[in-house]
Each structure stands twice: as C-alpha cells, then as structure tokens.
Symmetry: none
Subunit: 416 residues, 2 copies
C-alpha cells in the first residue's frame, strides 16, 4: 500500500512548529509494510488544503492528514476536504454528546461553548475515528478516488488515534507492499562515546544479516539502530534479533536496553528484584533525577523520595552535610556528593542513596572545576562509590547527562 | 515572493529523521518577506524528485530543495532536476579541485575516490553556491519557468549556505513579497482553557490591526500568537505591539509573558524583586518543579531547594507531616499539600513554600479523587493558599500541568 501524508497548519508552514507527526506516521506505517511516498505541508487555507489533498488522492488514492481539526476558526481541514469530495457538513449528535460529557466531567460550566460545538460538524457520509486523548474526533471519508483519514495535529492525540483507530482499519484494507516490510531495532548504550563504539565494532566486524547500522548520539548515550527490509515482519524481526545478539558482546555493560527502554525504568526494575529502596539527593540537577524516576508508573514501589539541595544552606540544613566539608572541598566534590548520598539514604530510610553535585553553567566554572564538572556518588550503607564526570553541552544538556549518568551508576551498582 | 521547499531523503520519508530543515528555511525567509506556501518531502528517487520539483515550479516558479547532494549513489537531486530542465551534467573543474584540496588537507590518500568526485558533476548552465561547512556544493539553476536552489541536507551545512549564499541572492532577485514581511508576537497564558479564551476574545472583539490570531494550547497553557504582514519589520512590530496591548486586558492575570518567556524564570524574577526565597515540596511531580526552576540560570539567587516526598513515609519522616493527617485526609488533600508547603518553607529557611500532591496515574485513582486530581498549596508564614485541580492527559502531561500550575500559584501570590 502506497500512501501520502498531508500535514496542515500555518504553524508548520511558517516554521514555528517542527513537524514531528509526519515522521511518526511514516515509521509506524513502514513497520507494517505500508509506504509513505510523499509528504506535503500546507497552511490553514481551504484552497491549499483541497489542492494538496486532491493531488495526493490522484497520485495514490490514500491520504492521511494531520491538523486543522480544532475548535477555532482557523481549522479548515474538514470543510475543505468535504467540498473537495462534494459533501455537505452535518452535525454529529454522538460527538456533540461526548464533547458535552467531557466538558461536564472537567467541572466546566455548561453549555458547551459554540467554538467547541463546531467540532461536532463532520462531512456527510464520513465515519468517525474516536479520539480517546482529546476533544477533536478524527474523520474517515471515502469515494471512488480513494480515502482520506483526518487526524488531529496534537502529537499525543494523533499517535493514539493512529495506532488504536486508523491502523487496524488500514490493515484490513489491503495487501502490504510487495517489497516487504522495513523494520528496525535499536540497542541503547550509555557512558561510552560514539567513536569508541565505532572502533570496537570496526574491530569485531559482527555479521549483521544485511542490516544497516546507524549511530545516533544523544544526551542519554549513543543508540545503535539496525534497519532491514524483509519479506515479512516475522522474518525481519528474526534477522534483527540475531544481528543484535551478535552485536551485544561488543557493547558489554555499556548497553542497557533496546528500542524505547528507559534507563530509569530499568533501574527501578533492578531495585524491585533486589528489594532495594532508592532515595536521591540533587544539587545541579535540581530535581531532574527524581522527575525521571517518578515519570515511570509504579515507581512508588522502590523510590522513597529525595532532597533538592540546591543552595549550600540546604546541603547543610536539610542534609546535615558538615559546613566544614563544603568549605574545605567545595560543594562540587567527592566528599559532598558522598555525604549527600549517605544522608538522603539514611534520612529517608532507603537502602540506596544517590548524590549529584556539579557545575551546570553557564556561570560558576573555575579552572579546576570548569562548567560540566559533576560528582556523583551512589551507595548502600556497606558500599559507596563516587565518580567525577566532565560533560559537554549547555546547562540543560549537562543536567540531562548528569541525570543519566547517576541512573547508570545505580544500575552498575545493582548489577555488579 | 512566494516559494516552495522540497526536502529530499529516504530517511525523512521513512521517519527516521525529523525534518527540521523545512521549518528553519520557512522561518528565516518569512522574516525577510518571502513566504513558503508549500513543503513537500520525497525519497531519494529520481522520478519522485522530478515530479515534486516540477509541480512546485509550475505553481510558484521558486523552489528550494534540501538533501540528495552527497557523494553516494542514492543522492539523485542534481541529475533528476537537470533532466527536468533538459540539461546535461558536466564536471566542474573548480569543485573538483576544491574537493581534492579538502581531501588532501585531511591527510587522506589521493586520488579522490570516485564517489567523492561525483560531487563535482553539475547541471549545464548551473551556478555554484559555495559550501563553507562541508563538501557538497549547492546548486542554483534557472530557466523560463523559474529557479531551483539545491542545498545540502545536513542541517549545519544547509543553514550556513542558506544564510550566506542563497539569501543575498534572493534579496537581489526581487521585490520582496508586495505584502512585505511576516512577523509574529506571542502572548502566553495559563490556567484558562482555549475555548474560554476564545469566548472572551469573541465578546471583546479587540481590534488587532489586521493580525491573525492563532490559539496554541499546550501543557503550559494556551499561547496566543499574533501574526501579520507589513511592509517593513519596524512597522510590523509596531502594529503587533499595539495589537498585543489591545488584547492584554481581555486576558487579565491569565497572561504571564510574551514570546519565549518561561513561567519559572518569571517567578524567579518576582522572587528576586521581592527578596523572597523559595522552597518546593513535591509528591506527584517528583522533582519536576525543582527541575523547571533550576533550569533557569541564576536560580540559586532565590531557590533554596526542596523535598521530594514521594512515599508517604517520606512525607512523614522528612517533612514531619503528621501521620494522622495523611491517614484522615489522604495524601492527596488540602491538609497534606498545606503541611508540605509549610514544612519545606520552614525546614529550608525559605520565605515561600510550595507543596504539590496529586494522582498522576495511570493507577491510584478513586471515584472521589480520580487520576488528574492535584492539590497545590503555596504560602508564606503569614498567608497560605491551597487549590485543587483536575488535569487532563496522561501521567507526564498531568505532572507537567501540575508543575506549571504550582509556578502560577507562586506568581499569583507574589503579584497580588
């Protein structure tokens, strides 16, 4: 199945918003053997929408649009595609009722504002794609030339609707591409630079079953993406997992997971298995480590809580780090990181404490401790380890890298 | 001047790479009075490239492409556009010499590999756009139908060539769009739904000097972006700031800033002015509030630190919230939020404490306190306020909305 994507919005056209929807749709469909052959972006103009969708329909007869379904007057997708297909607009009582229900359940005063009620207008003969993640329903409309599926522009809503509403419908529609599917598998590493991984792989020359290998460096580490074409999803996944098995020994303990796996979730799983309760003490990361951990549902099993020891007074007053220790070694030091980790562990009755203190910049650097210097300590009452790091990047990137490194120190501690 | 952008590459079409080039080009051109009216993405296929560029030429006569200029065989941009325009390919001796020089200067063995030498092939009659940032030169080609400028796909190279090579040429080419430049100004609001703002604006009917108004809802609130065409940048900015002044009374204290302003930075500025030191106590946000605040450089002026009181034991042990209070009211309650805020304020010697406790989900909801229920308290030793919220969205979105609402409660406290 060949199809086209048309993303709609002045936002996208003016460059105020980077279009992430088109890439997401392509990836999801490619994994199913459905190929996006062209993407077009137009603004919130009825003429431009009708022209782009009309061209796409003529070429492939299969079009997904995103955007322009909201309640405001600049949302022109439904009406322009309706007129392209020669349909009238009508009010859908089911949508209107659902919108009202949603409005009421949020405790907002009835009646529903007129602008919201506009969302219940749909082209005649269209089918509704339920939106479980927002107010704008998606639309499916079909004629002799082919079909158009209209999804909302908000990425979270679009993604949910694509996977739960549209994809099952497309699978039923048709034969997959004769060239087969494109699948990929990603191995996630952290704590090792891209060039060092490349050298290791160069030396080991693992046989990757024809998969191409891409290096994707980021603040959480370097991801290695294996991609291949195969005649079926099952066959592709087999070849990919075999290639990954051959690559894995080269990566050693730098590898922490596959695909979308999150290091915080992996650390929590390790804590769960070992019945270890975790607490965090953060200075330069200011809560980011706690936030990463508690982003994982169910983290309350193992994560007790933490201290944000931003000012030195907080380190002294709340964590009881001796003032002399801070004065003699500086706030960014092995001694202070270790004291923070120990104090939060004992103060919160946890088994494992982590302490992070560093210079995130842009100010505060010195020749001995330049911006990017971070000390991290992690340990139980029996065993405490501390390491210093020198992270590249700006303030936010240094904080993100420090957070990831702290999680990785806990992982290493729990697996060694 | 109206133009189109065609971005080229299988990576983009398959969704492995998000297209940031198209947005960058639009933004740079819009500020110069040149308007991108359509963007198209196709893969590395000669037919697809020729078809997309041909269509764009027919519509506007002005096309910028990115990608497909590299040395590998899947780079088909130049040859397909040459044949679209009926031109032969020829070798450019200047490019060949420059490529050889670059190769030699990197200490690589001569002769230049054939694949690199291919980069010296250009369409007959084309002009070269020098690339100071990489090996692939850009191409400018023109005929009776209009012009095509081919830029490389690597963002850094593309950006350099756009600004230093292409833009001066486009400025000379022509009369900027007779409609002049496009500029915008954004007013940021929080704590009020999109439809409620729309109704207020509908009722007030402010005169916006011809600016269009876009509603941009997100987890931090609803941004209102005013965009207008004007004959000069100065004139546009004047009209925009006048329109903003007319819109502002309608938004009242829901508006907290303009353009890229960050609520955390605004709260810190207010604290600085009022010499108030701030401390945070977080349960469901797990450190996200502290992280938002400490993301702002210089936050150590006013932010002391905080407590992450995730488990009930942490609320009791670290913050001294009475166990009976938690048992009687539940951890998500006005009483516990207030106790958390007071305890962190006093425990860290701050003037102002904020406490956030809620049900972020997906588990943990009850009929009385469904997922999304959050209590936030904020106050000094003299005055404490607490409010309950019911946020929509998934776990991460609820946490982000709660963080923003907590910052907003501090802002309201400091400005009332």
């Amino acid at each position: 199945m060949l199809l086209e994507v048309v993303t709609i919005g002045d936002e996208l056209l003016l460059g105020f918003t980077v279009d992430t929807n088109a890439a997401y749709i392509s990836k999801v469909l490619a994994a199913e053997g459905m190929e996006v052959v062209r993407k077009t972006t137009v603004g919130d103009s009825a003429d431009a929408i009708a022209s782009a969708v009309g061209d796409a329909l003529t070429r492939t007869g299969a079009v997904i649009t995103t955007g322009g379904l909201g309640p405001t007057s600049d949302d022109a997708t439904k009406s322009s595609i309706a007129s392209l297909m020669g349909r009238e607009m009508r009010e859908d009582p089911g949508i209107l009722a659902a919108l009202g229900e949603r409005w009421r359940s949020r405790g907002l005063p009835m009646p529903l504002p007129l602008s919201n009620a506009n969302q219940a207008q749909v082209p005649d003969g269209a089918e509704i794609l339920i939106n479980d993640f927002g107010t704008a329903p998606g639309i499916w409309i079909q004629d002799g030339r082919g079909w158009v599926a209209m999804l909302p522009g908000v990425p979270r809503e679009m993604r949910g609707m694509l996977v739960s509403g549209l994809l099952p419908r497309l699978r039923k529609l048709g034969s997959p591409d004769s060239r087969g599917v494109i699948r990929s598998l990603t191995l996630r590493t952290t704590g090792i630079p891209e060039s060092a991984i490349a050298d290791r792989i160069e030396a080991a020359k693992p046989v990757l079953n024809g998969a191409s290998l891409a290096y994707l460096p980021g603040v959480e580490g370097v991801d290695l993406r294996l991609t291949l074409h195969a005649r079926s999803a099952g066959h592709a996944d087999e070849l990919l997992s075999d290639a990954a098995a051959k690559l894995r020994p080269t990566l050693g303990s730098y590898m922490y997971g596959e695909d979308d796996s999150d290091l915080a979730a992996i650390v929590l799983d390790l804590c769960r298995t070992r019945k270890a309760r975790l607490a965090t003490a953060e200075s330069c990361t200011g809560g980011m480590l706690g936030s990463r951990i508690t982003a994982v549902p169910g983290s309350s099993d193992c994560y007790v809580g933490g201290m944000v020891l931003y000012a030195n007074s907080a380190k002294i007053q709340l964590a009881g780090v001796p003032e002399s220790l801070v004065r003699m070694n500086g706030a960014v030091s092995e001694q202070v990181a270790t004291a923070m980790a120990g104090s939060v562990r004992d103060g919160l009755g946890a088994d494992l404490g982590v302490g992070v203190t560093g210079v995130a910049g842009p100010g505060g650097g010195t020749p001995e401790k330049p911006v990017g210097t971070v000390w991290i300590a992690s340990g139980t009452s029996e065993r405490m380890e501390a390491r210093s790091f020198r992270f590249p990047g700006d303030r936010e990137e240094i904080r993100q890298r420090a957070t990831q490194a702290a999680l990785d120190m806990v992982r290493q501690l729990l697996t060694s």
